[in-house]
């Protein structure tokens, strides 16, 4: 196979990382959803590429699942939710953006030097990208920490899932089919429950600001 493929995959990985950073820095929910969709698309592309390069048919399937879930279904759901609850406004973060970015960069470095020694051992052609996957996971984790509204938190959670998917693809050509399906099912159910919760929270607290969800404490 040509080195081109490997380079392309690395490129896609880089885009993925960039998108995560963009999400951290992004203030508006709508564009967050767009970024998330873009992330999904990149993920699909990467999966297809790996699948094509290594002739692993089941990667096509998982790519299909990803497409269906992360590119079409979930974004649609999110769009409807924010339309129904009309929460298009800007999201103020708990920590200001530049600080977040700096921390993010530190995280990326951390992730890389964690992943470097072990990614050598991988049999995958995309082995170099394991660090990026880890970085994506950590970045979305941080995003969940810094956001104070329900929807962005959910998006952070989902992009963490993306990172994991990408890790699976890059490190091991994806998980066995059963597991892939199971995970996909969980994600689907999860997002549905999220959707339901949004409405309940909204009707209980007439806001999606999770700072209302701080009653249960140990006083």
């Amino acid at each position: 196979m040509s080195p081109l493929v490997g380079q392309t995959i690395n490129l896609l990985a880089a885009i993925l990382l960039m998108l995560s950073f963009a999400m951290i820095s992004q203030r508006r929910i709508l564009s967050l959803i767009h970024l998330f969709t873009a992330q999904g698309v990149t993920l699909v592309a990467a999966t297809l590429l790996v699948g094509y390069a290594t002739h692993q048919p089941h990667l096509y399937i998982s790519a299909g699942i990803t497409l269906a879930l992360k590119v079409i279904l979930i974004p649609l759901l999110l769009h409807r939710v924010i339309a129904r609850l009309d929460v298009r406004w800007d999201v103020e973060t708990l920590i200001n953006i530049p600080t977040t970015m700096i921390i993010g960069i530190a995280l990326v470095i951390f992730a890389f030097n964690l992943a470097l020694p072990i990614s050598k051992l991988s049999v995958s052609i995309a082995r170099g990208t394991l660090g990026i996957a880890l970085a994506c996971v950590l970045l979305s984790f941080m995003m969940m920490i810094t956001r104070s509204k329900a929807v962005p938190q959910v998006i952070g959670f989902l992009s963490m899932e993306n990172g994991l998917f990408f890790a699976a693809t890059s490190a091991t050509y994806g998980m066995p089919m059963v597991v892939e399906l199971g995970i996909a099912l969980d994600v689907l159910v999860g997002i549905l429950i999220f959707g339901v919760f949004m409405f309940h929270i909204r009707e209980q607290f007439d806001s999606l600001d999770i700072r209302h969800l701080e009653k249960l404490k140990d006083d």
């Binding site: 951390f110 941080m142 969940m144 920490i145």
Partner: protein, 677 residues
């Protein structure tokens, strides 16, 4: 066929089987109590007397087992790799002796004691009571750490439920809470002690622990843990706080058992661990035990002298006696650390003797207060008095216990003090001069404590039973019922017997000291016939029987001669009192007044809150509240510290989901960093 086998089975039973049979009987009685939950008559008149009879049986068994070779048996319950091991050797037999004899008396008393309306239904009380007895027996019999701990905690638990029998009252709840808390923490200490002793062999039998040789470091750890754990149960300073709370709260027969017997199981534990499992002694263990014991004893007696609640007074006096016993153990450890076995045996004999006599007189005192409590409904000494006229039985029998507990010849308490002082007098001869300097001070302290005990007991008896009634209602006080009298007489018999027959009793407990320190007084003690001779007749001797005879003879002679030469005329009249006409009960010295000199002399011991009347009071009154420094200097600060820590830790959980996520994130990063190396 089988019937026949069952019939002649008892013939082939060993002592241990009999002991276990008694335990089973007690458990069955308890179960029966559950079925007769609210039928007071049945429970009181049938179940408790049967339990007392079982106690007598146990007494007999122990008496014959004390000299016999050890017996062991294994029950098919417990942990799979660790079934319950039981073993009956002389040490266990001695404590069985105490448990059996005292419980016999107390059960008989309880048969007449329990009345309606005491919170817990009588049947349940019977269950808890007999479970308590059974667990104490099994503690003494246990031969592996697990069985011991299970029985130990069962003992604590059953006694806790007995203490809180009348749980409507908040103070009683509090008392029970403190009691169980201290007991549980102590139990964890004992647990860890066994953890040290088993030394990673994973074999928790005492046999294995005996076989193991520990390094001095680990041995000392084990010793300290044991001292902590058992000290918590025995009420050593500063773990004594539960005792004066729990004893007044409990029904009197229960206080009698707790004070008379349960505290001794802690002593048993210390002896078992120190002399049997850790067959090595280090001299500073002895010094530590001496110091703690004496501090406890002095503290206890001084507080006892200052109390105004009769059961609290007795509780503190129990603390004092326990302290003396621990001091004796310390001396014995000291001697055996330097290989002076006969001296060690002497000190140990003193301890065991005191265990027995204290068991008798203290439980007798407690049941006595029980009768008073029932007759008058008063625990406050300030509201009692003159009861010797309304309840002569209780008064005269209690007087015996009072004399014994004051350490007066020719009663049981004196013998043990005498032996203890003897062993102190023999102590010069210890290689270390520092210790030799220590000993006289210690002896002086013991003498002082004994004298103070006398003071306390005079206060106790005088204020309750003598003088004029301080309340009118006391005139209606009724004397003890039949069963109560039987129980009290049995216990009184014990006090007198221990006082008059020291030679015979020491001959009985000789095997115990032999297995513990490898020496005993058995040979020399009998030399003087009725004289108690610890070492040799030249060095020291004491013949209570002759002593009593002497006093009695001169008493009788004086009586007769006066009648013979002069007359026996007697005239009754109002008291003279320097011609002061208007006498009433309130003019007598009160309990507070009687404690006043002690409070004055030992002021730093107390934490006193006084309410002095001002000259302008229309209704002037004086109140003094005697508090315990340890409570304010140790326990409350610890509680505060825990609270403060808890508040700090509570900040962790302040409800923000982002912060929670941050915790997880940071933990992840840290762990990753850690594993990276």
């Amino acid at each position: 066929m089988i019937g026949a086998a069952l019939l002649d089975a008892p013939a082939r039973w060993g002592h241990l089987d009999w002991a276990l049979a008694v335990v089973t009987a007690w458990l069955l009685i308890g179960v029966a109590g559950v079925f007769a939950l609210r039928r007071l008559k049945l429970v009181a008149r049938v179940l408790f007397p049967i339990g007392g009879a079982c106690g007598l049986l146990l007494f007999g068994v122990a008496l014959s087992a004390i000299g016999a070779p050890p017996e062991a048996s294994v029950l098919p319950i417990g942990l799979p790799s660790l079934p319950f091991h039981f073993r009956l050797d002389s040490l266990s037999a001695f404590f069985l002796l105490v448990i059996g004899s005292v419980s016999a008396g107390v059960s008989a008393f309880a048969a007449g004691y329990f009345r309606k309306g005491e919170g817990t239904p009588p049947g349940l009380l019977a269950l808890e009571y007999h479970l308590f007895l059974a667990s104490m027996v099994l503690v003494v019999l246990a031969d592996d750490a697990y069985a011991f701990m299970v029985m130990w905690e069962t003992m604590a638990l059953s006694s806790f439920f007995l203490v809180t029998a009348n749980h409507r009252i908040v103070e009683i709840q509090r008392a029970g809470y403190i009691y169980l808390l201290v007991a549980h923490v102590g139990a964890i200490g004992i647990l860890l002690c066994f953890g040290v002793l088993q030394a990673n062999t994973g074999d928790y039998t005492f046999a294995n622990m005996r076989a193991l040789e520990l390094s001095p470091f680990w041995a000392s750890i084990a010793f300290l843990l044991a001292l902590f754990g058992f000290g918590a149960k025995a009420g050593l300073l500063p773990l004594h706080v539960w005792l004066p709370e729990a004893h007044p709260a409990a029904p009197s027969p229960v206080s009698a058992l707790m004070s008379g017997v349960m505290l001794k199981t802690a002593l048993y534990g210390v002896l078992r661990v120190l002399f049997d499992l850790l067959h090595m002694q280090v001299w500073w263990w002895g010094v530590l035990l001496l110091a703690v014991g004496l501090a406890t004893a002095l503290f206890g007696v001084v507080f006892a002298a200052a109390q105004v609640d009769m059961k609290r007074l007795l509780a503190y006096s129990s603390i004092e006696n326990i302290g003396l016993m621990f001091a004796g153990i310390g001396l014995s450890v000291l001697f055996s650390a330097y290989g002076m076995r006969p001296m060690a045996a002497l000190a140990l004999t003193a301890v065991l003797y005191h265990v027995a006599s204290h068991a008798f007189f203290k439980s007798l005192l407690f049941v006595g207060t029980g009768s008073v409590l029932h007759a008058t409904g008063e625990r406050n000494l300030g509201k009692l008095g003159g009861l010797i006229r309304f309840m002569p039985w209780v008064a005269w029998i209690t007087l015996l216990a009072v004399l014994a507990s004051a350490g007066l010849p020719p009663f049981g308490g004196f013998v043990s003090e005498w032996l203890l002082l003897q062993s102190f007098l023999f102590s010069p001869g210890l290689p270390s001069s520092f210790l030799n300097m220590l000993i006289p001070v210690v002896a002086a302290l013991i003498a002082l404590i004994a004298a103070l005990a006398g003071y306390t007991m005079v206060k106790f008896f005088g204020v309750i039973f003598l003088g004029q009634p301080r309340e009118d209602k006391l005139a209606q006080a009724h004397d003890a019922s039949g069963w109560e009298r039987i129980g009290m007489l049995w216990l009184a018999g014990g006090c007198i017997g221990l006082g008059l027959l020291p030679v015979q009793f020491i001959a009985v407990i000789d095997p115990v000291t032999r297995i513990l320190v490898g020496a005993g007084l058995g040979k020399t003690v009998g030399d003087g016939g009725w004289l108690l001779v610890p070492v040799s007749i030249e060095r020291a001797s004491y013949g209570p029987a002759i002593f009593l005879l002497g006093v009695a003879a001169s008493f009788a002679l004086a009586f007769l001669l006066v009648r013979f030469f002069y007359h026996g005329r007697l005239r009754r009249s109002p008291p003279w009192d320097c011609g002061y006409p208007w006498q009433n009960g309130r003019m007598q010295d009160t309990a507070e007044g009687f404690g006043q000199p002690i409070r004055q002399i030992f002021e730093p011991f107390f934490r006193m809150e006084r309410e002095l009347p001002s000259p302008f009071d229309t209704a002037p009154h004086y109140r003094v509240k005697v508090g315990d420094h340890f409570w304010h200097w140790l326990y409350l600060p610890v509680a505060r510290l825990v609270k403060r820590l808890a508040d700090l830790i509570g900040l962790l959980q302040q409800g923000r989901i982002s912060v929670y996520l941050l915790y997880g994130f940071l933990t992840l990063v840290t762990v990753l960093m850690v594993v990276k190396q």
